[in-house]
Amino acid sequence: MLKQWIPLLGATAVCALMSAPQAAKAEQLTLCWAAWDPANALVELSKDFTTKTGIDMKFEFVPWTSYADRFLNELNSRGKLCDLIIGDSQWVGGAAENGHYVKLNDFFAKEGISMDDFVPATVVGYSEWPKNTPNYWALPAMGDVVGWTYRKDWFERPEIQKEFKAKYGWDLAAPKTYDQLKQIAEFFQKREIDGKTVYGASIYTERGSEGITMGVTNVLYDWGFMYENPKKPYDMQGYVNSPDAVKGLEFYKSLYDCCTPPGASNVYMVESADAFKSGQVAMQMNFAFTWPGLYKDEKVGGDRIGFFPNPAEKYHFAQLGGQGISVVSYSDKRDAALQYIKWFAQPDVQAKWWQFGGYSCLKAVVDAPDFKTSQPYAPAFLESMAIVKDFWAEPSYAELLQAMQKRVHDYVVAGKGTAKEALDGLEKDWTEIFEEDGKI
């Protein structure tokens, strides 16, 4: 009997011996992020990390519409799926307070990674909790901001320029203010261009996740909307629903009513980019991450596309997007994950990141003399990153966001009630949420 087993045992032992060094070498990290163009760039970039360290990278990318649901569920259930996560900027408060992310201060100090080397707005937006304190939970990974693209080729047509000037009295160009933007949008709405009916602008109106909030805030900030009393945290009465904020919300609705394509009642990043790519709209609101792809597009890219930051009104702000990269505290491979962050923070890697289509937040990259000329959209990106403002990053961000999605969508898209009622309701909802949190 034993004779029969000897060859089998021998073969097993040989296999085990042969695979032992492989198993030790084949460490693998899983990085979780949204499924979008920059994620593909990161896959390419990370090959360098694998070459240098021998650590394989596995990626878990989820579409934007289910990105928050999927990964917040994963974090809340203390799952071990993700070793590294590029989490949305607004998650940082909840992730820090609930212990989902590893605090990186000691690691940064040990490895000589200084937050002073990164664009300040991205450090506050993606890494810090509480905000404006030196407590870091992420390394700024992907700078992003809402901006605009426009059909430069249409804007430059002499007959269109002539007609526009005759109608509005100023030269057609990328708008500097929202009033100008609306005039341009009205001008193009239902216009025949090359035998096709086109429309003014594509703006965010999505209801399900965060779309309409990420759109409307660009206008609200410019009109004077504030999240809270700067001198008294969580005091929102008269700030969230100030008369200026009401006017801003009314403006966004008027823009939706007058100048968007038919059926644009549930538009976010993908739909907005599609509207632009299919030649439906003259202007498009979208996050800067879409710009490299649009610039490369055969039909609307190259010389046909132009980029401009969010226009100003009474104030000049733009909605911050983007994310920081964090180490998940439930990961068993914390050291390897920190090794990835150390590699990612290197200036040469960050420079490659920008070349591959990611948006670096490292000052050495964005302040380099040739950065502005490196891509046609680089100036608009830089200008936009200087005026960013973000949504609440509180632990209760999900509830705060949901309340805003409902109130704003009900008013802007469904036409329910008035702008004042919508913002009064929002202020009431937010107050209740902070009361439940014990913050008020």
């Binding site: 307070e97 209801r207 059926g263 509830e399 409902k406 009900d410 008013y411 898209v413 469904a414 036409g415």
Partner: protein, 322 residues
């Protein structure tokens, strides 16, 4: 000569015992019939307890707490009936219940009327009726995800076939036919899709009802010179009624918890116009992370569906006994 089933069972048991090692045989022999029965159903019961009963009781427990799934470190406090009171006094929840009621009422009405009419037609055997039956059944064989996505394209104002068809018939420009973006039309857009998809199901059940009516009843009615109209109202409808009611029950329960189609077509929008109860529940539970409150809402919905279904089943039994 007949052999008692027991003889076969005994022989099979003996064979099994012979093939089983001695100690196990002794143990099996020691088990009563009841114990063996329990042994067989135990895995199913364990599965049911794990995936149905335990979550139900856990949800009931959570509904009395302030628990939030996104705050694993926060203290869980008992809030008594606070969540229930909040759910029952929340105007948004009542609005979503109204939307659900509107959706359930119209889909069931349309599906029953059209489904019964189709069944009545199909029941009359004509050339190629098998082909038409198969063709009518296709929509219900599709996945709701597929149906939701392609109807979204069909409803698209600029490229959608639906908009073109309506424009062709009415002369209204396609850009003005915004089925999913219009507050007035969006609920009907969902009702149309659900009716398109599930009418064949109602038709099938009604067809079973119609085919169960014996021919001799109609023959007797013919002898009595009853008109077709009289036969329809006095024989067909009353005898098919239990089946129709069954179809209404199945569709009612399904549509009360409708989620996938609404989520794919409108996501509850525009605004909250098509936000049915299940969408509100999902938002509360997995977007706002109000786990305690959403558990209370889920229990309220469960009790409502369970209560209504019970009343309905009693009515159905009464109809069957007539």
């Amino acid at each position: 000569m007949t052999t008692s089933p027991h003889t076969y069972a005994d022989k099979a048991a003996e064979a099994a015992v012979r093939a089983t090692p001695e100690p196990l045989v002794r143990r099996v022999r020691a088990l009563s019939d009841k114990a063996i029965a329990w042994l067989f159903i135990a895995p199913t019961i364990a599965l049911l307890l794990a995936i149905n009963i335990f979550p139900l009781f856990w949800a009931i427990y959570l509904s009395f707490t302030n628990y939030r799934a996104n705050r694993p470190n926060a203290e869980v406090k008992n809030v008594g009936l606070g969540n229930y009171s909040r759910v029952l006094n929340d105007p948004d929840i009542w609005a979503s219940m109204q939307t659900t009621a509107h959706f359930v009422f119209w889909t069931i009405l349309l599906q029953t009327v059209i489904g019964f009419a189709l069944a009545y037609l199909i029941d009359r055997k004509f050339r190629g009726h098998a082909f038409w039956t198969t063709l009518i059944l296709i929509p219900m064989m599709l996945s709701p995800a597929v149906v939701g996505n392609f109807w979204r394209f069909l409803y698209e104002p600029q490229i959608g076939l639906f908009a073109y068809a309506v424009s062709f018939l009415t002369g209204i420009p396609t850009s003005e036919i915004q089925m999913l973006g219009s507050v007035n039309l969006a609920p009907w857009a969902i009702i149309i899709v659900d009716t398109w998809m599930w009418t064949p199901y109602v038709m099938l059940i009604c067809l079973a009802g119609l085919r169960s009516i014996p021919d001799y009843i109609y023959e007797a009615a013919e002898v009595d010179r009853a008109s077709n109209w009289r036969q329809f109202w006095s024989i067909t409808v009353p005898m098919a009624l239990p089946f129709i009611m069954l179809a209404v029950l199945f569709r009612g329960i399904e549509n009360f918890k409708m989620f996938d189609m609404v989520n794919l077509l409108t996501g509850g929008g525009p605004g909250s116009t098509t936000e049915v109860a299940s969408i509100t529940l999902k938002r509360d539970a997995f977007e706002a992370w109000a786990t305690g409150r959403s558990s209370a809402f889920a229990i309220v919905l469960f009790v409502a569906v369970f209560g209504l279904a019970n009343i309905y089943v009693k009515a159905l039994n009464r109809v069957k006994q007539r």
